[in-house]
Amino acid sequence: MWLVLIVEDDPRMRDFFAASVSRSGELALAGSLGTLAEARAWLDDPAHVVDVLLVDLGLPDGSGLDVIRHAVRLHPACEPLVISMFGDEDNVLASIEAGALGYIHKDSTPDDIASAILEMKSGASPISPMIARRVLSKYMSLRDGRGAAAASPPEPPPVASVAAAAPRPVLSTREHEVLELIARGFSYADIARLQSVSVHTVQTHIKNLYRKLAVRSRGEAVFEATQLGLLARPA
């Protein structure tokens, strides 16, 4: 039984999601909130337990991204899912980097919503070809930037220290191939067949990818902060 917290400002949508969660036998509602402030207060209470966070990005008093970051920091076991109208790449990518592990569409059916949550808990994260393409190009540019930084000998410490501070978030060859196939429109089943692995393995690749992207974005933040002198370099 997974405990789900819903943060959505539209009361009807909130009720719809709450109903969808309640209908499922494997999910239970932990809370149902409408603003960033309420969500923060709720998450700040150590007595509260949450497994899944369902959050809308456009909250009246701030961004759902802040809720995601807050939840990930205070409740590491919590897996955030973003509620998106269109699943458009900019918002989804920002959410992933904030720590979200998936997204669901607002027009999904109640059954779809429950199954999306459960699939995520069992290790599957959705990804659209557009997002896969964006991740690939971003990964390419990051790798290029990293290569350029490594090529300049006088300043090796920042890269090295960041890499030491966080697990090195580099896409594996397999992950890269999976992303490329997704970008070409192949389904998880197609990819599993092409690569002679199980669908579950493909899903795991994607979920790992999500975590890496989140870690990467944290690593980047640390790297940038170090560069700006906001953080002392680890000795």
Binding site: S128, M130, S187, D190
Partner: protein, 612 residues
Amino acid sequence: MGWRRLLRAALLAASGCLLALAAAQAEVQQLTYARATLMPEGRAARSADVTLPYHWDREQRYRAGEAVFDVPFSLPSEPSEPWGIYFQRIGSSAEISLNGTLLTRMGDVRQPNSDDYAKGPQYVPVPPRLLGRDNVLRVHLRADGGRRGGLSALAVGPEDEVRELYADNFRWRVSASMVVTIFSLLVGAVALALWVTQTEPGTVHVGRRDSVYLAAGLAEICWALRVGDVAIEQPPLPWPLWGVVVTAAFAGWFCGIALFCHHVAGWHRHRSMPLVRAGLWALFGTSIVASTLSLTLHKPLILTAWLGSANVLFMLYAVVYLVGAVRKPEPARLLVAAAGTLNVAMGVRDWIAIRVSGSLADSTWIRYSSVLFGLVLGYIVITRFRAASGQAHDLMANLAARVSEKEAALQQSYARVEQLAREQERTSERARILRDMHDGVGSHISSAIRQLQSGKASHAQVLQTLRDSLDQLKLQIDSMNLPPGDITALLANLRYRLEPRFAASDIELQWDVDLIEPLQRLDAHAMRQLQFMVFEALSNVLQHAQASVLRIEAGVMAGTVQLRVIDNGRGFDTAVPLRRGLLSLRERAAAIGAELNLASQPGRTVVEILID
């Protein structure tokens, strides 16, 4: 007793006087008495006692001739120091001997009309051994008529003292004249250079030279010749031709200076200018005539009269000029007026001193005052250049200001053009989005409304229409993010969006999409059209074909992108495009220049889109 004492006192006084006299005699003696033998040409020679200075021209009526002057002088004792003789004026040429020994020759006394030593002072050193208590200095001279020849009073005495007298005179008559000559040459050269290189300020005729410089330049060159003549003891031309040249140079100077003054006053733009110019030319011409007549006819009065009338003319001109300058005072004009007046005064003084009273020793003063014109010209040039550089400075500043103005204007117009381009872009983008909304989500929502209003449509049908409309909206948003020309991304995205429908319809989807290089010629609009076309083809299969397998193929064959939607459904008659969807497929294909091929039979329907 009384008279003896008186006598003694008288004797003492007398001896004192004698001693003083002897002492004085050892000093420089001015010798003014001579015994002369005069030999004017065409006349009988005669002897006479004369008092120096002896002005030949005046005494001999401008006739050429020779003369021998014996000048006796006594010394109290034979000197042991070197002595010297100083002649304030001697010539035209002369031979000087002392006690029968030739001391020096100044030119050739037997050669008429050539050398002229009378222009400057002369000094002759005397070895002490030639001097006795009683001496006779013999001066044999030749005088050419009209050359101001003759013999001035002369001074004999110890070398250092006499030389001092000579040097003093030399300084004023020769050295100063040389300074004036060099100055005039310099000013003249600069003025002529300016005339060659500069154009008159404020004229519209480009390339027209400023004749103020020409007038001043020629005047100064003439003046250099006239004043420099002092140092020319052996002229290049014979007398009296040289005399005419020098007089003409003098006339050239004052005519040129008058022209210069006229220009400075600004009167050269007056309509009387041709008359003034003609008058000055006439004055210059008559100087040649007058000097030629005067010198060849031995009639000094002609030249004197001509010079006198020139003086009168210039006195009048000076008065007119002064009045004009005072009425319209300008620094340059006032300076010229002052210099002119002073020079006219000097001219009158010289005329009286040399031409009228006929002093042999005197020389002209105008040579010194003439320098003022050069200085005024310098002042004018400097002020003009200052004004010009000021103007240039203003011009540059003005130019810079205008350039920056233009730059700003250009930047503004650039910004405007850019803004217009942006607006244009926004407008066309907006138009595209509106058209999309009209064709896509709008038409679906309106048909959903119609379905609800008619009451005939089922709940599921309305729901399907609304889902279609949301799908259209998502596709539209996706199309904005699709990389231009990337057909693979377009198909992948379409599949992703339609996945729920495929899942709901129980059709097996076969995906055979190669990685296709983006096509440059497909812009955002074309991509959207292509998206519509594939969507339409897929919708057809899903809604009408009753197929069990749907295959999507995409690849490149010989540079052409081949896109196929194949199903195994019941098929349709491609020749009768009754369905609205097929019609729109053709229209969109035509709009983006793609080839559309339809082949259908029961069990295999192929919709093929070919894009070059």
